[in-house]
């Protein structure tokens, strides 16, 4: 079975399994995904530690609603490094990896929205 980014059990738990709220969350994340990763990249380039910590923390919380554990773990790693003041160990690879996982999540969310439209 193909491994997915979204854990639908967690997604249901976090939203009370409401299609309305799941749809809104998916739309919101798709709208914001590019900005999230762009802001994080800018913060990293400008060595803005507190912003890196906050943005990674916010990303971690957002993706946790979809049960996207891999992204959540990676965002937490970035957050922890920033929190410890050690951003020298946050590499571009971290951000590239985060970005590719987020793109996969966006694709899955778009697919989810399409299927939910078909159902309704």
């Amino acid at each position: 079975m193909k491994e997915t980014i979204i854990n639908h059990t967690i997604f249901d738990l976090c939203t009370g399994a409401s299609m309305e709220i799941k749809t809104k969350l998916a739309q919101l994340f798709i709208e914001q995904a590019e900005n999230k990763i762009a802001d994080l990249t800018i913060a990293l380039k400008s060595l803005d530690i507190s912003n890196i910590e906050r943005l990674a923390h916010s990303l971690k919380s957002s993706v946790a609603l979809f049960g996207a554990q891999k992204i959540s773990d990676l965002a937490e790693e970035v957050e922890d490094k920033a929190c410890g003041g050690d951003i020298s160990t946050i590499s571009e690879d971290h951000i590239t990896h985060l970005n590719s996982l987020i793109q996969l999540l966006v694709l899955e969310l778009k697919d989810f929205l399409l299927k939910s439209e078909v159902k309704t």
Binding site: I10, L13, C14, T15, G16, S18, I21, K24, L25, L28, F29, Q32, E53, R54, H57, S58, K60, S61, S62, A64, L65, G67, E76, C83
Partner: protein, 239 residues
Amino acid sequence: MNKIKVLVVDDSPDMRLVLIRTLKENNFPCDEAQNGLEAYEKIMADSEIKLILLDLLLPDISGIELLEKLTDIRKLRDFKVCIISGKRDRETVVKAIQQGVNDFMVKPIYPDALIAKINSLFQLGNAVDQYQKISTTLKAKLGSTPIEPDLIILTVSEVGMELQSSAAFEMNYKIELSCAMLSNASGLPSPFHCRVTSCKKISFGKYNVQANFIGVGEEVITKIRALAVRGVKISDESK
């Protein structure tokens, strides 16, 4: 409609969406703020707010800084603060406890867990009665005799304590956190003794936890009210 008005303070629109919807579905009047200063203004302007669900990492001031700003107003008005955060490091938790938060939830937050938490925070009646009964009994027992260390042993049970996962680490962490919060709420003198005596899983993510507190006489009596108002079951097992 519930009378407990809740203010959700979180910079993530998705978290606010989920929390506000959960509250509205359960008939809680609510409002939202996306940063610390907006929250501060709303709290100052609206005396109906009885509970603040507060994220710790906000874009302007931190949740801890907001709590510091609210110190004076909290002396005059009765509202509770429950931290909702993805941050789970010990230092943050300790800082939040020092600022007198009433409870702590780790994201992701499930709707039913949130409602259970609010109900638990505001179920005061029985717990306060329980406190008064124990307080009277203990005072009668102590009388004017010198107070000795380890004189009073309180057994504290937190029923249906929420755990985010059944993983052992999480479990231990939450137990430690719960004990830290209980000890802070009780204002027990340091050093005190707090020992978890049992931890039983009752359903997915929920545990019954029992712990013993051993503290010094009068101080325990006069300060356990904070525990009682949190809805924590307390029984006196002193000899």
